[in-house]
């Protein structure tokens, strides 16, 4: 018997197509349609939640179903403020980069709800292990913008002394782990941190963050297996923004399966959630955090969203995806959706929104002005070059002292 020649499958690239591609295995439930299982559910009883979508806000901005979180109007307004601030901050940093005040920047446009709402379930002492696209975790908790900008500018007041690429913040006081350029590494570190908390009988929880593209890294799998084995208090977040630079999520293995469902092979409960729905994010994050705090173990959450912005300031998405794709994205804009919800509840108005935006712009301008006083990447003061030899080790060894001397310090 003879067989036809073999051929390799190349995932659909989605180029020129609208996202998400029609996939019979993955559904987008309407708002309020998905059940909210008890937090101590057996992962085997939750498989449906990994192939559908937890949504709270409907197209008219009404909150529906079992996942409607218990949030006050003030908390919702805080969410709106955080997201708007994150977006405005990103815009401003883009401008600084374009003006040559720094070398590089990464926006999270369209993904603001995920980090901003998630941060609201974290408590003092808990620890996030973010990627470079969770600036919302800092902004939602009111982290000083000036400090963030100084890092982006690598200036004299950059807490990281000009050592790190812009956006690779580190803020222990904000439960924000040092960001690494190496994708995926933080995911398994979050598991280790959570293991430590449990080993010490502590009450703190950890959250790991990873993008859809980076789930292909081996540390993603290592994180899941360690989380599965030891069941530490960790929430494992996959931000599926459909793209990894120019590669669609299908190239990461998402063509016919959800990322949430990866948890099933590890007996970890998982949720697939509308990442552009502030209420759904808050509700799912609370659910997972509650599981962690009650020692019920890890949860994997796939946040379905869309990377509206270019990957970074070095990227041009028009080279690999059509503009319409962003416009056709079915889950809309997280900011607009929450705003609409608040207006519908009678807790917000367009006028108040305009005022809020003006206030945010002023705040960011003030922060930027303040930060610029301490220099920019190419101009003005920065940390002494001698400081580059510090913190390699706790105590500077002889060879580094010699090299510092050779440099003239």
């Amino acid at each position: 018997m003879s067989y036809p020649p073999l051929s390799l499958h190349m995932p659909r690239t989605m180029r020129g197509e609208s996202v998400p591609p029609p996939n019979p295995h993955l559904r987008f439930a309407g708002a309020g349609e998905m059940r909210r299982p008890p937090v101590d559910s057996d992962p085997y009883d939750m498989h449906d939640l990994a192939y559908n979508l937890v949504r709270v806000l409907d197209d008219d901005g009404e909150a529906k179903g079992e996942w409607v979180p218990d949030l006050t109007a003030e908390q919702l307004r805080h969410g709106l403020r955080s997201m708007l601030k994150t977006r405005a901050y990103d815009r401003r940093m883009m401008r600084m980069q374009r003006q040559g005040q720094t070398s590089f920047y990464m926006q999270c446009t369209g993904e603001e709800a995920i980090a901003c709402a998630f941060q609201m379930v974290m408590q003092k002492g808990d620890m996030n292990f973010p990627t470079y696209r969770q600036q919302g975790l800092l902004i939602a908790q009111g982290f000083p913008l000036t400090d963030m900008i100084c890092q982006v500018l690598s200036n004299e007041k950059d807490h990281l002394k000009g050592r790190q690429l812009p956006v690779m913040y580190s803020a222990p006081e904000a439960g924000f782990f040092s960001i690494s350029g190496n994708l995926g590494t933080q995911f398994v570190q979050a598991v280790g941190w959570a293991m430590a908390s449990a080993m010490r009988g502590d009450t703190k929880i950890a959250a790991g963050w990873i993008g859809d593209g980076s789930t292909a890294e081996s540390d993603f799998h290592a994180a899941l297996v360690f989380a599965s084995v030891y069941r530490p208090p960790v929430v494992l977040n996959i931000v599926n923004n459909q793209w990894a630079i120019s590669s669609p999520q299908s190239v990461a293995g998402g063509e016919n399966i959800s990322f949430a469902s990866r948890a099933h092979g590890f007996a970890i409960p998982s949720l697939r959630v509308d990442g552009n729905d502030y209420l759904a994010v808050y509700a799912a994050a609370s659910w997972a955090a509650e599981r962690a705090r009650r020692n019920l173990g890890p949860t994997l959450i796939e946040w379905v969203t869309y990377r509206v912005a270019p990957h970074s300031t070095s990227d041009d998405p028009s080279k690999y995806r059509p503009k319409e794709e962003e416009l056709n994205w079915p889950l809309g804009d997280p900011v607009e959706r929450l705003k609409q919800h608040l207006i519908r509840k009678g807790e917000w108005s367009e006028e108040r929104n305009v005022q809020l935006l003006a206030g945010i712009d002023a705040e960011i301008n003030d922060a930027a002005r303040e930060a610029l006083k301490y220099g920019t990447l190419h101009e003005g003061p920065k940390a002494s070059p001698a400081t580059m030899f510090e913190d390699v080790y706790k105590d500077m060894p002889q060879h580094l002292r010699e090299q510092r001397q050779q440099m003239g310090y």
Partner: protein, 343 residues
């Protein structure tokens, strides 16, 4: 005159185990884990009894994932624990290389001290046991090249315990290489002679309880005036044998710590002898010996009477059947010693 107290004699395995025991006792933040280290006590018995004594939350088995082992150790270190992670064989550290190089080594620097990785990664290394390609490697150069790491390799039980205690107390990541051919006895490369147990060697005397050997200090194993031999791990014993067999009055330096390196001891010796032979088991190209040769050349050029020679493993993967053709034994080292004396 007071008589010298009689100290217990230990094998390298016992000494290493005792270092972890001592530190787990002293500091409840010290945790030990890796493949088969918990219930079973490690494939080389280095962690035997620790789980029984300290419980599963302090000493436990992990999945077979080196990146997972080191990755969770980094997270634990950031939390405030002092993880001592074991990689079953140094040959299997590569899946963890990203976590070691990109994370553990750089965490303090990139976060300006916000977060640190006070961890030890223990791994049996080296050949001479018919371990072939994946149970014999000496990957130290892959670590000494990385800013932010300290790399240690003991050659005897006394140092193994004292250095491991120092490593665990150290606030930065330490790569702790354990020459497995030395686990049960000193080995000088004479594979055809009966195995000598540690109990016959002076450096198997190790004090009870806590003591430390400072990181970054070499030890002069044999004083001499004709040539300086720089060695570490198993090669210290090989070098000593070669010196005895050739009758050359060599000064044998056991580096113990590769980074940070004890430059003073090295340069003082070479300045005195004017000759230098470097010996390591690892392959030659870009091996740690290259660095040692460069340091000696830069710092002792005018005192040198002869070219610096290196005796190393060949630039091939570690073979099985040709173990003793590959392993830099006392004969090869002896030849280099004679060659450097003739120059």
């Amino acid at each position: 005159m007071m008589s010298k107290p009689v100290l217990p004699r230990r094998t390298m395995i016992e000494a290493i185990r005792e270092a972890m025991d001592v530190m787990m006792e002293r500091d409840d933040k010290v945790v030990v884990f890796g493949q088969d280290v918990g219930f079973f006590g490690g494939v080389f018995r280095c962690t035997e009894g620790l789980q029984r004594k300290y419980g599963e939350a302090r000493c436990f088995d992990t999945p077979i994932s080196e990146t997972g082992i080191v990755g969770v150790a980094v997270g634990m270190g950031a939390y405030g624990l002092r993880p001592v992670a074991e990689i079953q064989f140094a040959d299997y550290v590569y899946p963890a290389y990203d976590q070691i190089v990109s994370e553990a080594a750089r965490l303090r620097f990139r976060s300006a001290g916000d977060y640190t990785a006070p961890m030890v990664i223990r791994m049996p290394c080296g050949g001479g046991i018919f371990g072939a390609q994946t149970h014999s490697q000496s990957p130290e150069a892959l670590f000494t090249h990385v800013a932010g790491l300290q790399t240690i390799i003991p050659s005897n039980p006394y140092d193994a315990k004292g250095l491991l205690i120092s490593a665990i107390e150290n606030d930065d990541p330490v790569i702790f290489l354990e020459p497995k051919r030395l686990y049960n006895g000193p080995f000088n490369g004479h594979y055809d002679q009966p195995v000598v147990p540690w109990s016959k060697h002076a450096l198997s005397e190790t004090p009870e309880g806590y003591y430390s050997v400072p990181i970054g200090k070499a030890a002069i194993r044999r004083k001499g005036s004709a040539v300086t031999v720089l060695a570490y791990g198993t090669m210290v014993h090989v070098a000593e044998a070669a010196v005895t067999e050739t009758g050359i009055d060599a000064e044998v330096i056991d580096l113990r710590s590769l980074v940070p390196l004890d430059i003073e001891t090295i340069t003082a010796s070479v300045a005195k002898t004017g000759r230098c032979v470097i010996v390591h088991e690892a392959t030659r190209l870009s091996g740690f010996g290259t660095q040692l040769a460069a340091e000696v050349q830069e710092r002792c050029f005018y005192q040198l009477e002869a070219p610096i020679l290196r005796v190393t493993g060949w630039d091939t993967p570690y073979p099985h059947a040709h173990e003793w053709d590959y392993f830099p034994g006392p004969e090869r080292v002896g030849r280099a010693l004679m060659q450097v004396m003739e120059a």
